[in-house]
Each structure stands twice: as structure tokens, then as C-alpha cells.
Symmetry: C2
Subunit: 296 residues, 2 copies
């Protein structure tokens, strides 16, 4: 399939590479041409603008920053909308506001262009290993047609509902995940305040009723104090702005999410933007210093 790809960050590089590997005819565009150099060497075509990319593609995938970035890519004078022919599809895999997804879908529909919002969970590791979870909003028939492409990128593809529903699911994912990180941080902070070996507490809790992927992965980072690997906390900080804007717009009371957002604010203020979000435990330690050295 003739596919265009925009958004060659950590995750996008891996995803674009999988698409070339699967035999697709891939074109790329990037703000900085250098970001595309490796992929062009591997066979991707370079396009001079998003419009040029859209004009030669049956499918364009975007994997960029947030709502404003996607809107700009679509609506700018040399943007995707200026290039797409009727029948083409834009699949946005960025994390953006559900309302933005719905607006873009409506604008495309008027011109006979398809849209899916398909945000992902799994981070750079999931992108590299093609094991992303993909939450899809939009027409089921469009998803069915593109299923083979999604299967090149992820291992769990779920159709949630209409346009925007994929983004709602992603917001839910982030709310639950970051709340679990903060709750794990508070639990291990309390254990340390009691002088108890936090590594043993984490081990005891895994596999029980408090067990989760977060306790396994981020809990280990809290125990070791190594916050260099993982997902930049600034990305979750961005997600929480989206989530709280949704809550505001819909009149949805989200007391825990709101409190988690404040802890993320504090982590940003501490210079933790590029640390893994497990560093939320350092916000508590800064408030009430604890020694988390363990014997295990």
C-alpha cells in the first residue's frame, strides 16, 4: 500500500521501519529533513510537504505531539487536506483531544476522505517490538480495511467506537496508569517511612490484588532509583492537561486524576520532565525525605 508517515520520533522511527519491512511503499515528511535520513536510506521516499505526501498516499499515518500539531499538519496551506484525494485515509496515532479528533473526522468526511483516531499504548519498547496496543475510533469498515497495516505495528487492536472514541480510551489508559504509578510511589514511600524494605514490599504485592504492570515495571524503577529508562514524564504531564480539559468540558468529576495531575506538575517543577514517571516518588521524598536503600 502507498503509505505516508509523519512523526519520526522515538516511536515513529520504529513504526515506519516496520511498514517498510512489511513491503509497503513508504513516503515520509518531517519538519527537519535530517530526522528522515535513516529511513530514506532504507527505502522511504522523501516528500517536500505534507500536501505532497498526502497526494501520493492511499493512507497517511501521523504520530506527532498533540492536538495543535495534528491540526497544523492537516490544515496548513501545504497540509494534508490540501493534498488528499477522495478515498484516502488519515490515521492519527498521536494522543490528542477527542473533540479535535471528531472535528477533523467531520471535515474529512465532507470531502470523502477517511479518518481513524488510533492512539497507542506501549511506548518506545512497544513500537520497537511491534506490540503496541492500538485503540481505534472511527468507521469499523475503514478499520477492517486497514487491519493488516495495524497488525504490522501492534498486537492488540481494539475498535472502541465512533471518531474520538480511540482518544477517549487512551485518556482512560493514561488516567489509570499514572494514578497507579502515583499510588505505588505513595505506598513505597510509606514503607520506607516505616523503615521497611521496599523491594520486599513490591515483591510481596506483585501477583496479588494490588498487582499491575505498573507495579512490575515502574515499581522496579522506584526501588532502584533509576529513572533514566522508560517514558518521559513530560508526555504524561501533557496527557493530563488533555484529561482535565475533557473533565472540565464534560462536567466530569475526577478527583484522583486531578490530584495526580498536581503531582505531575510538581515533578515538572523539579526538572523531571525527561525522567520516567516513576520519578513521581521523588516528589514525595522531596517533601519528606526517606531512605529507600534496600537489602535485596
Amino acid at each position: 500500500m502507498k503509505i505516508g508517515f509523519i512523526g519520526l520520533g522515538d516511536m515513529g522511527q520504529s513504526m515506519a521501519r516496520h511498514l517498510i519491512g512489511a513491503g509497503h511503499d513508504l513516503a515520509v515528511w518531517a519538519r527537519r529533513e535530517a530526522s528522515a535520513a535513516a529511513l530514506v536510506t532504507e527505502g522511504a521516499a522523501w516528500c517536500a510537504s505534507p500536501a505532497e505526501l498526502a497526494a501520493r498516499s492511499e493512507l497517511v499515518i501521523t504520530m506527532v505531539g498533540g492536538s495543535a500539531d495534528v491540526e497544523d499538519l492537516v490544515l496548513r496551506s501545504d497540509g494534508l487536506l490540501a493534498g488528499f484525494a477522495a478515498g484516502a485515509v488519515h490515521v492519527d496515532m498521536s494522543t490528542i483531544a477527542p473533540a479535535t479528533a471528531r472535528q477533523l473526522a467531520a471535515g474529512y468526511a465532507e470531502r470523502g476522505i477517511g479518518w481513524l483516531d488510533a492512539p497507542v499504548s506501549g511506548g518506545p519498547k512497544g513500537a520497537l517490538e511491534a506490540t503496541l496496543a492500538i485503540m481505534v475510533g472511527g468507521e469499523a469498515t475503514t478499520l477492517a480495511r486497514l487491519q493488516p497495516v495495524f497488525e504490522v505495528l501492534g498486537s492488540r487492536i481494539v475498535h472502541i467506537g465512533e471518531s474520538g472514541a480511540g482518544q477517549v480510551a487512551k485518556a482512560c489508559n493514561q488516567m489509570i496508569m499514572v494514578a497507579a504509578i502515583e499510588a505505588s510511589a505513595e505506598a513505597l514511600h510509606l514503607a520506607a517511612a516505616n523503615g521497611v524494605d521496599v523491594a520486599k514490599v513490591r515483591t510481596a504485592l506483585m501477583g496479588g490484588s494490588a498487582g499491575s504492570r505498573v507495579l512490575e515495571v515502574m515499581g522496579e524503577r522506584m526501588v532502584s532509583g533509576d529513572f533514566d529508562k522508560g517514558v518521559d514524564a513530560r508526555l504524561h504531564h501533557k496527557d493530563f492537561a488533555l484529561i482535565m480539559a475533557e473533565a472540565h468540558a464534560l462536567g466530569a468529576p475526577l478527583p484522583i486524576a486531578a490530584a495526580v495531575g498536581q503531582q505531575l506538575n510538581a515533578l515538572m517543577a523539579r526538572g523531571g520532565a525527561r525522567q520516567d514517571t516513576a520519578a513521581l516518588i521523588t516528589v514525595l521524598d522531596a517533601m519528606a525525605p526517606q531512605d529507600r536503600r534496600t537489602t535485596e
Copy 2:
């Protein structure tokens, strides 16, 4: 082994039955003798007081309400302390304050009586199926000696540290678990506010970075609206009083746990004491009504 057992509630009944089944010489005492009737029929000996139970036991296991209940059982005039011979061991599997566990351990140690705090996770189902997770504080040598008894009751037995450390781990377990329940409730509430199928959102999120036992078990109850099965929310409400008292005593800042505790307070006020804690979602729905009916 000659074992005494006190606390014949939902979980204690199953645990005592497993001990008889494993061939132990079991004695019981209960506030209301009727609670012990079934077990006495199955071979347990009835004792007239905790002191009498302690006097004939190498090991006494208690599985009762909270700190005050355990202190009363030990310290009353016809309590365990009045009956124990030196060399006996008291294993308390209730959920109590770490400080209470430490005080009782110290009092016993002066008289040559052993102590382990060994709170559990897994609920009535885990007790019935003998798959409880058991978090143990106290002397490792005492645990090693009693390991075969614990293995009759649970499938994950972890030594956390000194006396009280088992209770600290239990507090950590409850903090993480109930925060995950509230975060899941908020996520599904937000999905419903967006008109998105909450069953599909839950399915999409399980197995991903937000995946947890809580989303699997309690998430299903939120989707179905069935809060009759599971663990009474009043027990978690009790646990949160303990956790926040610990936080207060130690000067540990626990912002998310504090907010979760407020939602539990609201659930109690709504008459949800004997509902499963998944009913936390009804607190949000009461604030901002949502239709969570799904098509799945």
C-alpha cells in the same frame, strides 16, 4: 500441631477448615458460640475463653476486625496472654496498625512468647481456595518453623521484615488496590460521559500498560453495575483510617491516598458499606449522572 483459631468470619471459617483438613488439632473460641458450631461438628474443640484456647495451643491464629479487637483478645483478663505458655506463638492475620503489631510483639517477647503479623490479601475467595497472599512481619526463624501451616492457607508467603512489617506491606497493598479501583471508576465515568462504550474501553485497556487485577475484576463489576459480590467497601474504609493514621504519625505525605479515602467516605454516606468497593463509581455517577449501559 495444636492450633487455636479465633475469628470465624467469612475468611476465618475457610481458613480453620483448611487447618482441620491438613490434620491439625484445632481448637476454637468465638464471641458467639454459634459461629463455631459447624467447625466443632467437623472436629474442632471448643474453648470457653481465649486464655483456655491459648493454654492448650502451640500456635494461636487470630483473624478478627482491627487493632482494638486484637488488643482486647490478647490483653483482657481471660485473654491470650493470660493463657500462653512460654514457647507458644501468636500469629495475627487481621489487618491492624503496624505500631500495635510492634507493641504486642514486644510484650510477648518479654514472656518468651512468639509473634508474627501475617495479614493477607485475596479476600474470601482466596481463603476458600487457600490461595491467599500472606505478608509476614517478625522473626524469620519463627516463620520458617510455621511455613507448613502458612502453606495450608496461602500460595504466596513473603517475609517482609521485623514485627509490623507485614502490616506495612498490607497497608501498601490496600493503598494501591483501592487507588486503582477509584482510578478505574474515574476512567470509565469519563468514557461514559463521552458516550463511549465502557465495556470496550475496559477490554482495550486490559493487558496494556494500564492493565491490573483491579481493572479485570472490579472493572467488570463497574461495567455490569453488580456490586453484590466481592469485598465489603466498609473493610477498605477501615483500612484507609489505618493508612491515614500512619501517614499522620510518620509525617508521610500521601495525597492520592487521602483523596481516595474521601471517596470511600462518600461511598459509606451513600449506604455502600456492604457493596463491593467497585461501587466507588456510583459516587461519581451521583455527582454527575451518566448512563453506562453498553452494547457489549
